[in-house]
């Protein structure tokens, strides 16, 4: 997590020695069952089944599921950025406070200072990127551990938020709230879902082996999701934003040099260095992206809640980190996926939502969430040991 040069990758040890006889055997088939992902989906299904029983089915009504995905929007946006930060072997504790600050700045620029909507959005995205870049520079070039830099950042941003708002909450007018509260018209939703499903099916046709089922499953998921959302008011705009951002960053993570280099840096810093990767620049880059995501998350947060308060975003960094970790990201770096983090955010939001529906006393929610977080990592560590 910090910037001291690491001796070597301390993660899972390699499997037992291959037989030494020449020539070496070819390793592994091309398609492997993604046990990790299936375990997570399984755990989510168990949680949903339990809640649908304890709430007499209320949990699974379209109205509640729509609420559920709206509740997870802000955490998800932060978690998407956080995955990349953690994959690179870093950590960012300032994201909640920064999102709160940027959300308030945006709302005040629009409401109190009469900036055009587009300008007040763009301004905080740029501001977020700059603040992220500064933190990244402190980590990369001054070699301050990211934990310290972003802990300091968190305090600074919390204070700045209090100073900017003066403790008074700002309620932006309707136009601003669109990003947080509106729905995509059902017809448009169906058209979009159709296009996405068609794209998935095209992949299924082109691919060989066992993988077509994966793409067919995704196509079904797109249609099913749209059906459920349209059964209420349509796909919520913030949720659409989350899906678009997730798709974009999943692409960055897996199909750009920048993304792959983040995995290499987190996975074995020495190897990345010996391969000629500019580690410092990548670290600054990933913190800059995280800052940008804080801008987006801040806008959605303010718009969804309907007002910018002086303690907005508090503790959200921990939800984002927890979502990433539950979703399979390793705090040691080098391992993690954007979609996994989304699944992690869904698990967390489901717990919140389900327990609220059951009228569980509110103190139980953090207790249960904390236990699930630790349990998720424990299962992972035990699994690793089993493979060793």
């Amino acid at each position: 997590m910090d910037l001291q040069p690491l001796p070597s990758e301390p993660s899972a040890p390699p499997p037992p020695e291959q037989v030494a006889a020449a020539p070496p055997p070819a390793v592994g088939p091309r398609f492997r069952i993604p046990w990790r992902a299936l375990t997570m989906v399984g755990a989510l299904l168990v949680i949903w089944i339990v809640f649908s029983i304890t709430t007499d089915g209320t949990f699974l009504r379209p109205r509640n599921l729509s609420l559920l995905v709206r509740q997870m929007a802000v955490t998800s946006i932060l978690a998407i950025g956080m995955v990349l930060v953690i994959v690179a072997g870093q950590i960012d504790l300032s994201v909640g406070a920064l999102a709160g600050l940027l959300g308030a700045v945006s709302a005040m620029a629009f409401t109190n200072h009469g900036w055009p909507l587009s300008a007040s959005f763009a301004a905080v995205l740029v501001l977020g990127a700059i603040l992220g870049c500064v933190q990244g520079a402190l980590v990369a070039w001054l070699r301050i551990p990211p934990f310290i830099v972003t802990l300091g950042g968190m305090l600074v941003f919390q204070g700045a938020l209090l100073g900017v708002t003066g403790g008074v909450s700002t309620s932006p007018p309707r136009a601003f709230l669109y990003v947080g509260q509106a729905y995509v018209p059902t017809l448009l939703g169906w058209i979009g879902a159709g296009l996405v499903a068609a794209a998935f099916l095209a992949r299924a046709v082109r691919s060989r082996g066992a993988s077509p089922w994966k793409w067919i499953g995704f196509a079904g998921l797109a249609v099913g999701f749209t059906a459920v959302m349209n059964a209420y008011e349509g796909i919520p705009v913030p949720v659409l934003l989350v899906l678009v951002l997730a798709a974009f960053f999943a692409g960055v993570a897996h199909h750009t040099r920048f993304g792959r280099h983040l995995y290499a840096i987190g996975g074995n810093r020495e190897a990345a260095f010996y391969s000629g990767i500019d580690i410092e620049r990548h670290i600054v880059g990933v913190f800059t992206l995280m800052g940008l995501m804080c801008g987006a998350a801040g806008i959605v947060l303010t718009a969804r809640v309907g007002s910018a308060t002086s303690d907005a975003g508090r503790m959200m960094e921990l939800d984002a980190i927890a979502a990433a970790v539950i979703g399979g990201t390793s705090l040691l770096g080098g391992v993690g996926t954007v979609w996994g983090a989304l699944l992690g955010a869904l698990v967390m939001a489901s717990l919140d939502n389900g327990m609220s529906l059951m009228n569980t006393e509110s103190f139980w929610q953090p207790v249960i969430k904390g236990a699930i977080l630790v349990a998720a990592v424990a299962v992972d560590m035990i699994g690793r040991r089993g493979r060793a």
């Binding site: 390699p14 020695e17 030494a20 070496p24 390793v27 692409g251 750009t256 040099r257 000629g276 990767i277």
Partner: protein
Amino acid sequence: MAEAVAPMALLELKSIVKEFPGVRALDGVSFDLQKGEVHALCGENGAGKSTLIKILCGYYPTGTYQGEILLDGRPVHFKSLRAGEEHGIALIAQELALVPELSVAENLVLGREPVRAGLIRWDRVRAEAERALALVGLDVDPDCKVKELGIGQQQMVEIAKALAKNAEILVLDEPTAALPEGDAQRLLRFLADLRSKGVSSIYISHRLEEVFQIADRITVLRDGRSVGTAPTAQLTTDRVIALMVGREVKNLYPRPPHREGASLLKVQGWSVEDPLNPGRLVLRDVSFEVRQGEVLGIAGLMGAGRTALVSSLFGASRSRVSGRVSVGGQAPRKPFPSPAEAIAAGLALVSEDRKRYGLVLEASIGENITLATLRRFSHRGLLDHRSREDEALAQFAALRIKAPGLHALVNQLSGGNQQKVVLAKWLMAQPRVLFLDEPTRGIDVGAKAEIYQLIAELAARGLGVVLVSSDLPELLGMSQRVLVLSQGRPTAQLDGSAATPETVMAAATMKA
């Protein structure tokens, strides 16, 4: 053979001098490599081999050393490893430089992935990876993760990565250290094959047998100087060993007199698994005995399993250990599961890296000395600082630690005095057997002599001492008996006069 090749060297290093604070690691070393040649570099640990190759690869950039590097007769100045690679020099480092969680293909193209419009072209990556794997004849799925490969296969992936960058000079630093015999032989055959295609290699290995099998010429380094270069055909293993160790042994060592005391430590059938690679043994079936007042030396080259032996006996091993151990004549028992139990039984370990394992640098001398024995000064959960300081002061005086007082911070002391603090800490625990792992590494000659004096005094007091050292004169000077390990197996137990630098080196380079 060297004479048969064109006279102008492909690569030439001229009087290279490299200094680190306080140490002259290389003192005017010259070295040359012909096209299509395998040139081996031999020398004891610390002779300067790694420093030399780091200079020629660009790891130590131009300006941080003196001397000249000529490539094809033209001087070159590398500012980074990258620059070295661009000139066709690829380093295959001792530790594998691969990312375990990424696929083989991604590792092969890491840092130079083909892109179009910002997106990686996976079809090209795959094709490139298959081409690189074909170069080394490695039949693995480019999509599987590197961590799923065996260690020998990972080594081949590294070589494929170097060759894919069109390297003309491969620099291999102990490439077979982690390899099982079969894989090592395959690697050697492969290097011979490359040589016939005109690729040159610089080969560093402690395994002299391999060196004689593969190298066209051998250069021996000793104490940062080149002590000879000759075609392999004109050398013998004995001659190379003599060149490696041939320094004058001064009478620096007050070896304690030999005496037949009671058995203090008896180890039988000791085996230790590789923590990173379960199933492979780093130590196999080692047995020995240490008697009262005796210093037993453990010799071996890097990776022979010396540190694994003492740390596993001390209960500090992270992997599976088997065998029987008996301390102070008690019934043989299974390995200690933790250092706490080893300490309770009367063992103490002064570890190899004192700053990492031995000392709390930001704490005072007194605190460090009593760190392992706080229980003794604790009454109803509270520390009795007075008795603690009294006892610490006694050790402080006995070991002649040079410092203003008990309250001085350890990080202000010299290496030799830091080592004395570590010794004091363990002597507080009143051990019966003391393990010393490289006790004089990185400390100056004067302090070394004092440490030797202390070892002799401790043995005279009836302690059993197990001394691990890469410094052969020191090991021979202090030990009454020497146990030699090679690749995790005991290859010799030499008594007093039978232990000479030559016999120890021969056993240490012996194929186990």
